[in-house]
């Protein structure tokens, strides 16, 4: 795959310097969600309004009267990100305020589950904002309960080892693509150049944009805080979380090709939530990952 462009490994890449995330926020050590926000705002700049529903970030952003962001934050109810962002975007339009980016910033529960109706409505209406799902693959803020973003066979407190999650993870990007959304992408923090490029691209497009971020949660994944970056890199290399983008719901483009390609076992072995898996189960996950990846490559070739 070495002939493919390695956008994730551009040498001498310099991140935008401006920090819009204050130090001293209250995320857990190794939180993938806080680093995700840091990069996202580096990409978008300070002319951004952030809508945050109930999720880890409603804590990370700080209690009254604090804020961990240098942008406005609107904290809202769990299921309303798509709708509130629509209202904010409409108000900016009617008030003649151009060039302000509205970003919804929700967890996987608020996106895949309780907020999917408002998200679907907003995307179908092609509202002008970026919806970001930072996906830590369970209800982490309430203490690790399964969501429809939880991977198959993972342990959570509501899918205990005696009966881990039976169902596969919902394919949220496919759902967004089915809406013919102008732009959808996946990204993660171990490939910051790719992440920032995608946010900047999203910012430049009018209409609805969706970015799906894999954001490790060390306490919830039963992983070391120091492994957060490693885990997201292994997720890409193992192809369980490929980095790609979809334009108009049709045109697929793989932006970072896995290099080197690794078996899913290497991603899973650093996480206690998969520790109970037997060899046959890991094999089953591997087959699913391979199948999904093959389908994605097919779609990307068809562009």
């Amino acid at each position: 795959m070495s002939e493919q462009p390695l956008l994730g490994h551009r040498p001498n890449y310099v991140l935008p310097e401006r920090e819009l995330l204050y130090p001293g926020h209250v995320a857990c050590p190794g939180c993938g969600a806080s680093l995700s926000m840091r990069y996202a705002l580096k990409a978008l700049g300070d002319q951004t309004m952030v809508i945050i529903p109930a999720c880890c970030w409603s804590i990370i952003a700080g209690p009254f009267p604090y804020s961990s962001l240098k942008t406005p934050i609107y904290h809202t109810a769990f299921e309303t990100t798509g709708a509130v962002a629509s209202g904010v975007s409409a108000a900016l339009k009617v008030l003649g305020k151009k060039d302000i980016t509205v970003m919804g910033w929700a967890g996987d529960g608020g996106t895949f589950d309780i907020g999917i109706q408002a998200l679907s409505g907003a995307v179908e209406r092609n509202e002008d904002f970026i919806y970001v799902c930072y996906d830590n693959e369970a209800y982490m803020n309430t203490g690790i309960q399964r969501s429809s973003a939880t991977p198959r066979l993972a342990w959570t407190t509501t899918t205990p080892i005696a009966h881990p999650k039976d169902e596969p993870k919902k394919d949220i990007v496919a759902i967004m693509a089915a809406h013919r959304i102008p732009y959808a992408a996946t990204a993660t923090i171990s490939y910051p150049e790719d992440l920032i490029r995608k946010f900047q691209k999203a910012k430049s497009i009018r209409g609805a944009k969706f970015i799906h971020l894999l954001a490790p949660c060390p306490p919830g994944w039963r992983a070391e805080a120091s492994d957060t970056i490693r885990l997201t890199r292994l997720a890409v290399q193992s192809k369980i979380f490929p980095l790609y983008e979809v334009e108009r719901g049709m045109q697929y483009n793989i932006t970072v090709w896995p290099e080197p390609e690794i078996p899913i076992r290497e991603y899973m072995r650093l996480q206690g939530r998969f520790r109970h898996l037997k060899e046959g189960q890991i094999q089953m996950v591997q087959e699913e990952v391979d199948e999904s990846w093959a389908k994605l490559v097919e779609k990307a070739k068809g562009k």
């Binding site: 309004m49 904290h75 209202g87 975007s89 108000a91």
Partner: protein, 384 residues
């Protein structure tokens, strides 16, 4: 300009004259024609507003909140089930102090399905922190819509303009539609002190510790209390400008009345006829109409009922396990007055059952015939 329009269109014209800037709404019978008209106004360029055709009432309220928080004048409308679906966000609208105005068409709550009028949907929202006006006529609807924006933006609480399904929503009357210039003088543009602003970034509605939460609730109650006089003032100013005032409560034929009927919404109009007839027969009966339900104008009501020997409350609503809501609230209002007349609470007209002059006669006669109620709730014409 006089025009023959339905109660729903009176709401639409009110929102248009108020220059609502963002409308987020979802169709539901019997509210739908409010938003259809507004969609037409927006499409024709008669309104400079963004209409968000949301996928649910929950999102209608959430989007209205987002718009209001960003500094736009926001309007929505709903009814019955849709209002119930909004419930969580109704608290959010009041708690966040967004002066959204909503047309709420009273509709019976399922199951079984009902599309006809009953106040239980809006009264179930009484604890959310919204102002509530109950309207009797289409003229009152349009006037109240304009007043509601003014009051809401003064006290920074949202307001519902409430009208009966079909009896008002789909019934046409002659309505005097105020001219835009006068409305603009009455209702200046919405300029909130706090809003989402990239040049002055704040975090709105974060986690609030017990050390502050209590105070936030105290301030909502303070605003509600202030709203009583703000409503009165806005109504007075409206009267000076447009020649019509509606009051917080209205006394009708209360001079020398020994028995008072207490009504709200369209039942009031029917009751006026019955009162006229009974007065003609020499019966000392009068009527008190409650227009403002939240904040509850306790003093106005107590004063209106001073001197009567008996009070009959007509409740087209129900709070199960207690009685009618207006009956409950009026009992509470009278408790602190020296005179506590016997209060008869009539629950009637649920799910849109007709409340005719004969029904109201029966209510009046029962009250005249009894020294005190024999039951907590008196059901009129119920098939037991």
């Amino acid at each position: 300009m006089e025009k023959v329009i339905s109660g729903n269109y009176a709401v639409s014209y009110g929102a248009k004259l108020a220059r609502a800037q963002v409308i987020a709404a979802y169709p539901i019978t019997p509210q739908t024609s409010i938003i259809e008209k507004l969609a037409a106004f927006c499409a024709d360029g008669e309104m400079d507003a963004v209409f968000i055709k949301v996928e649910s009432e929950h999102s209608a309220m959430a989007a209205s909140i987002g718009a209001s928080a960003t500094g736009a004048r926001a309007f929505t409308a709903t009814s019955g089930q849709g209002l119930l679906l909004m419930h969580e966000m109704l608290h959010w609208a009041a708690g966040g102090r967004y002066p959204i105005v909503m047309g709420a068409v009273n509709r019976g709550i399922a199951p079984g399905w009902s599309v006809w009028t009953e106040q239980s949907d809006t009264l179930a929202q009484r604890d959310t922190g919204w102002l509530q006006y109950y309207c009797e006529s289409n003229q009152e609807v349009i006037d109240t819509t304009l007043q509601a924006f003014k009051v809401a933006e003064t006290v920074m609480l949202p307001a519902m303009v409430i009208l009966d399904a079909f009896v008002l929503s789909h019934t046409s009357e002659v309505v005097d539609i105020p001219d835009q210039e006068s409305v603009d003088e009455y209702l200046p543009p919405f300029r909130p002190k706090w809003k989402l602003d990239v040049d002055d970034p704040h975090a709105f509605n974060p986690l609030v510790a017990p050390t502050e939460f209590y105070e936030l609730r105290y301030k909502i109650q303070q605003a509600m209390q202030e709203a009583v006089e703000v409503v009165r003032q806005a109504d007075k100013e409206y009267g000076e400008k447009f020649g019509r005032s509606w009051g917080l409560v209205e006394s009708y034929c209360m001079e020398g009345a020994k028995v008072a009927l207490v009504t709200s919404s369209t039942i009031t109009s029917t009751a006026r006829d019955v009162i006229d007839a009974m007065r003609g027969e020499g019966i000392p009966i009068g009527l008190v109409k409650v227009r403002l339900f939240r904040p509850f104008p306790v003093r106005d009501i107590a004063q209106a009922l001073q001197g009567v020997k008996k009070v009959a409350v007509l409740d087209r609503n129900m709070t199960f396990g207690q009685c009618g809501v207006f009956g409950e609230e009026i009992k509470s209002a009278l408790y602190s007055t020296p005179l506590r007349p016997p209060l008869f609470d009539f629950v009637l007209g649920l799910g849109g059952r007709d409340v005719t002059p004969a029904t109201i006669r029966e209510v009046a006669q029962y009250t005249l015939d009894h020294d005190a109620p024999t039951e907590d709730i008196i059901w009129i014409g119920v098939k037991r």
